[in-house]
């Protein structure tokens, strides 16, 4: 396969995944700020959303004021000058898809193209209700893409590069959510059980669509260390770091077998998977949740770089 084709497949799926993660973050934030002031706490949740999206600096440069609903929704969802706004993510995804149409199945192309055609009809200045509809549309796009690629693509390198893009992006998104919110997950006795943090935890779960899953897995009330466990170590949870690496490692092994050659990316993925398999939440809290997550984000970027170097350049 052409390196450029692999590169386009990988970024196509990364951008679709990114759009979906942004939609979930916006959705969860909207819910959280809608609560009465007493539950809202001192933090500016819109600012947190910008931080989770990883664009504090560019947001500040553009608006030069404190984040609020209007500016954040505009910037994260629609702004043409934010390369990672949802709109730009979907545009870039389709551009990549067009460039590699021959490597996609008709159904997969159709999923992307149909949603792009819809996107063209949407006008700026949406009401809250319309925005909520828009966020659903973004999630549907990602579902349609994921579903059609899962159901129709051959299980060969093209499919694996699509999966790798999704998983690297997803691991990054989950880690960023944890990074911004790690302070409410620390087992700090003073806050435990307080109504304020309860809604923060619930919001974290919502941003990874795991509110129901949580109850199925733990069968008890929302506890911060369990939320952290679910998002970091629990392999049943498809957005957890452990699950992402279980699959990254698997698809990279598939590629290595297909091409008959191992490389740096296989080694890095396996090392991280081993690290996550051997860790417990106690260890992680002990050595510092924040440090753990910061180092994970760096490692995950390194794996992305290794994949690029090994296959896409």
């Amino acid at each position: 396969m052409l390196s450029r084709t692999a590169e386009s497949l990988y970024w196509l799926s990364r951008y679709i995944e990114r759009a979906e993660c942004l939609a979930r973050i916006l959705d969860a934030t909207t819910r959280l700020v809608a609560l009465p002031q007493a539950y809202g706490g001192q933090t500016n949740e819109w600012q947190s959303a910008v931080a989770t999206a990883g664009c504090v600096q560019s947001f500040q440069n553009k608006y030069g004021k404190e984040a609020d609903e209007r500016s954040v929704v505009e910037y994260l969802a629609f702004a043409p000058d934010n390369p990672s706004s949802i709109r730009n993510c979907l545009e870039t995804a389709r551009q990549n898809a067009r460039a590699v149409r021959t490597a996609l199945t008709g159904e997969t192309w159709d999923a992307i193209n149909t949603s792009w055609n819809e996107l063209q009809k949407m006008k700026p200045g949406m009401s809250r209700e319309e925005i909520s509809g828009f966020l659903d549309f973004v999630k549907d796009t990602s579902l349609a893409f994921d579903g059609s690629s899962f159901r129709s693509m051959l299980r060969n390198d093209a499919y694996w590069f699509v999966r790798l893009g999704i998983l690297i992006e997803r691991a990054d998104a989950t880690a960023r959510i944890l990074d911004v919110k790690y302070h409410v997950l620390l087992p700090d006795q003073e806050h435990v059980g307080g109504p304020l943090d309860y809604f923060q935890w619930a919001s974290i779960l919502r941003s990874v669509s795991a509110r129901t899953s949580y109850h199925w897995v733990y069968r008890e009330g929302v506890k911060p260390w369990l939320v952290a466990d679910l998002l970091i170590l629990n392999r049943q949870m498809p957005r957890s770091l452990a699950s992402c690496y279980e699959n990254l490692s698997r698809y990279l092994d598939d590629l290595a077998q297909f091409y008959g050659r191992q490389g740096n990316s296989q080694r890095l993925a396996r090392a991280m998977l081993t690290k996550l398999s051997n860790a417990t939440m106690e260890d992680i809290f002990q050595t510092g949740l924040h440090e753990f997550i910061t180092s994970f984000i760096a490692e995950n970027n390194r794996l992305g770089g290794a994949i690029t170097e090994q296959y896409l350049a």
């Binding site: 052409l2 450029r4 692999a6 067009r98 460039a99 055609n117 091409y259 050659r261 896409l312």
Partner: protein, 464 residues
């Protein structure tokens, strides 16, 4: 259609069907066709039109129909013409006998910007220059097809031939049962066979064929990706390729892989920045030297522009006679070459009755249709003709045949032309029965180019 009210026999059955089918059904199918086109993303980019960056070419659901005999005659003429063109190009870049015989003026070739001196004395694999030709023809009466234009560089439009048929089969299955239409969907196989047959002698094993595109912003990108998909070959851009020791490779996830044949959809100018335009990043540095060393085949060859320039066109009957010793089966439209003094005088005197075209123009840009032009436009062209006569030719406006077409007012005659695609491989010419029919949707208009608002139709060749 055959004069006012007359219907050619090929259309008899269709006419009956049209009469029996209610307007609403036809309108409904029209909308359905448009929906399908948009959904599968067959679009066409129009240069200089940012808002309509991806536009649909209007599709007309009423097919253009040819009887088996009409087609057979046309196909023979096409094969003859393209065979002569290949002889001519080999001669131009080789012995130049046609110039020595005084049949084609030397300056027309040597001073032509599309003549490529780099190709002088460099044989191309299997002596084929034009592997894929799109010959635009029109019929003006019962018996005669005229060639409007030979497209021997990178002719496009074949994806519409294939997609239009797909859509017709989906929308009107009942019509196909009555009509027995020759299939066209073997075109990709024929093309791939043609391309593989011209692999360089130095390549070993199954030849690796790729399609070279300028990229997703090119107006024909949809077609490039469509064809690569149907052929099952990689669609590459210049940056995917590199040359080492005069061998061409592509970058893959498993390391470099040799490329033997390029179906290139990039113009000569952009192929290799070391030889042609240095500012272009679309091509591959070193490609020309690999090509000249005989290690890669370009389809079409470099320098084929000297066969389809509109001034060279006027010599085509001579060219056919010179190389094949046969009378040309397809006619040429009478053409005045403004480079010649007496022709220029005639054109200036009769400009309001003529179509004036730029020698290198295409897509319906840069032309004057005398009978439709206002005084201002005519004055502008008079001035252009006097300052740069070599850049223009002129032709009479033809009484083009029309074909029933679904328009807003119902079904009405509209002017059409036809671009069949002629494939030339080692030892064989292949032509799929059909082509791209383009239709001028404006009443009375003669301009069928998609960039000027023309549409397309499916083209049916019947089995009898």
């Amino acid at each position: 259609m055959n004069g006012p009210g007359g219907v050619r026999p090929a259309y008899a059955m269709l006419a009956k069907w049209l009469e029996a089918t209610p307007r609403e059904v036809i309108d409904y199918r029209r909308r359905e066709a448009e929906f399908i086109f948009r959904r599968i993303g067959i679009t066409f980019a129009v240069y200089g039109n940012a808002e309509a960056q991806e536009r649909l070419i209007p599709f007309d659901i009423i097919p253009r129909i040819l009887m088996a005999d009409e087609w057979k005659k046309l196909a023979k003429g096409l094969e003859q013409r393209v065979t002569a063109i290949n002889h001519y190009l080999k001669d131009i870049y080789g012995k130049r006998e046609i110039m020595r015989a005084g049949k084609v003026p030397e300056d027309l070739i040597f001073e032509n910007p599309v003549f490529r001196p780099e190709m002088n004395g460099k044989p191309v694999p299997h002596n084929i220059y034009v592997h894929i030709a799109g010959i635009d023809v029109v019929r003006v009466n019962e018996n005669d097809f005229y060639v409007l234009e030979d497209n021997t560089r990178v002719p496009s439009g074949v994806s519409y031939m294939l997609e239009n048929r797909e859509i017709m089969l989906r929308l009107f299955p009942e019509l196909f049962i009555d009509h027995r239409v020759e299939p066209v969907d073997n075109y990709p196989d024929e093309l791939l066979t043609t391309l593989k047959s011209v692999a360089p002698v130095s390549s070993s094993g199954e030849p690796n064929v790729v399609l070279l595109t300028p990229g997703i912003y090119n107006s024909a990108y949809y077609e490039h990706s469509f064809l690569a998909d149907k052929l099952g070959i990689e669609i590459v851009e210049g940056r995917d390729l590199f040359v080492k020791s005069n061998i061409l490779y592509m970058r893959t996830t498993e390391g470099p892989q040799r490329v033997d044949v390029i179906y290139r959809r990039v113009d000569d100018d952009y192929l290799d920045p070391l030889v042609f335009r240095p500012d272009s990043s679309l091509g591959v540095p070193g490609l020309m030297s690999a090509y000249q060393a005989g290690n890669v085949t370009l389809a079409n060859a470099v320098g084929t522009g000297v066969a389809d320039d509109k001034a060279v066109y006027s010599y085509m009957p001579e060219i056919v006679k010179f190389y094949l010793g046969e009378e040309p089966l397809l006619k040429n439209v009478e053409t005045w070459r403004c480079r010649e003094k007496d022709h220029l005088k005639y054109v200036l005197d009769n400009i309001d009755e003529l179509v004036v075209k730029e020698v290198h123009g295409s897509g319906g840009y840069g032309m004057l249709i005398g009978p439709k032009a206002d005084k201002n436009q005519i004055d502008t062209f008079r001035h252009k003709l006097k300052t740069d006569p070599r850049n223009y030719i002129a032709q009479p406006t033809l009484a083009l045949s029309t074909c029933p077409t679904a328009v807003n007012e119902g079904v009405a005659p509209r002017h059409v032309d036809l671009r069949p695609f002629v494939l030339t491989g080692r030892n064989r010419v292949r032509i799929v029965p059909g082509g791209l029919t383009r239709v001028a949707l404006e009443k009375g208009s003669l301009v069928v180019n998609s960039s000027q608002g023309g549409g397309t139709k499916d083209t049916w060749v019947l089995d009898r």
